[in-house]
Symmetry: none
Subunit: 226 residues, 2 copies
DNA sequence: CGGTAAATCGCCCGAATGGGGTATTTTTAT
DNA sequence: ATAAAAATACCCCATTCGGGCGATTTACCG
């Protein structure tokens, strides 16, 4: 990306709130240095667009809401970051709590802006990303600094909530899966029928949006679930 | 600090480079919402000013260089933070390395700006601090995010040579396995027959002393093979 | 060049898995 | 007390996997 000054910046918006999404699209449309590649109301929609796009059509930056129908903006970010390294993601959200900030960064978000950020600051942030910077609302930066000056405090004080809404039983089964045990072995370990173990695993896959053991193990480790 | 809108913001400058300090003073002097309480070229000088000031004369924000004669800007920040909680400190420096950033934050710096930041952005940053935010140059924010998303990672990423004596082809196959792909899918991905993929996987299992996909994925991730 | 190792390919068979579905029991929430 | 949700259990069927076996081709080394 040499000479970003004259380059068109490809942008995408993932925002479930109709009015806000449309308004944001219009506002961004006024900037000729930006090209709006796509807008969508869900993470799944975003992933579909990315999966079906030619590489030269992929957005440079995605403005990502966190609270979305279906998979969350954070989960979407994780999946995008796994497959589309060249697309940066700015979280654009009302959430200011440490958990969301922390998790967003963990899954690979490049920036984090609050939704009350003026549009010209948003545009500036979009450009900033391509220059290698991370645009962060100042109050969010304050929390980042807090996380660094008191490391580990957040992870331990907030009982690091488990993504995917897995139940304790499911987590226990998943741990066994991660160790490479067969359903039969796991059943013996947890004193349940193999059928039950299998049902649990089906439920786990459903919640984690995977369909193989390997994928579940990978995700469980990457997301520090086990 | 109620109603900062009409309040004069008391600012101090700690900067050893004569020309730069004077230039900065002049520039800040043009903003009538700012009052320059003192400027000094050393940490000791700064501490002296603070020790000898009435409480109402203490600066709200201090722009602190890091590289100073005598005690460093970081050490100065530490001491100020111990005794003058109401004075915020923005590091204003050329240093972009992780150590300096990390240490600055550890000793209590509220913000971190690079010296090439335009003066109007500096003023904006000064005001931002009193609003509870943390002004950070975007490239510094990028490093902050890196520190959070990969805490302690730096220590382990070195020279992680591949254990198990896996061949390049085997590593490639293992990467695909780790992504949750079936043998058939992997075969299509690497342009080999499914039988060949299976044989590779058998060889991988043998070398890694595992006998399931899940166990291989786990080991591959734990050992940073993929 | 010849021998050996590695890579590639193929098959058999039993075990295991994944996805769909149903049913019962237990727990939880109202 | 009742309804809904969660946990437990089971079945069917197709696919995939793991381990064993064997063969051919290619690459490497002395």
């Amino acid at each position: 990306m040499t000479g970003t000054t004259g380059q068109i910046l490809k942008v995408a918006i993932v925002e479930d709130h109709d009015i806000f999404r449309k308004r944001l699209s219009e506002l961004l449309g006024f900037y000729e240095e930006l090209e709006l590649v796509f807008t969508t109301e869900s993470g799944e929609g975003c992933l579909n667009y990315l999966n079906n796009s030619e590489e030269e059509n992929l957005p440079d930056v995605i403005l990502m809401d966190i609270e979305l129908p279906g998979i969350s903006g954070i989960e979407t970010t994780f999946q995008i970051n796994e497959r589309y390294k060249d697309s940066d993601i700015i979280m654009f959200t009302v959430f200011e709590n440490d958990e969301r900030i922390f998790e967003s960064i963990q899954v690979g978000a490049t920036g984090y802006l609050l939704k009350d950020t003026p549009i010209d600051e948003v545009v500036k942030a979009l450009k900033e990303v391509k220059r290698g910077g991370s645009p962060i609302s100042p109050s969010i930066a304050r929390k980042l600094i807090g996380m660094i000056s008191k490391p580990g405090k957040e992870e331990t004080s907030e009982e690091s909530m488990v993504p995917f809404d897995l139940s304790p039983a499911e987590i226990r089964i998943l741990e066994q899966v991660t160790e490479g045990k067969s359903n039969k072995e796991i059943a013996e370990e947890v004193y349940l029928s193999p059928w039950t173990v299998k049902t649990h695993i089906k439920n786990i896959y459903k919640k984690m949006h995977v369909n193989s053991r390997a994928a579940a193990v990978r995700l469980a480790l990457k997301r520090d679930i086990v």
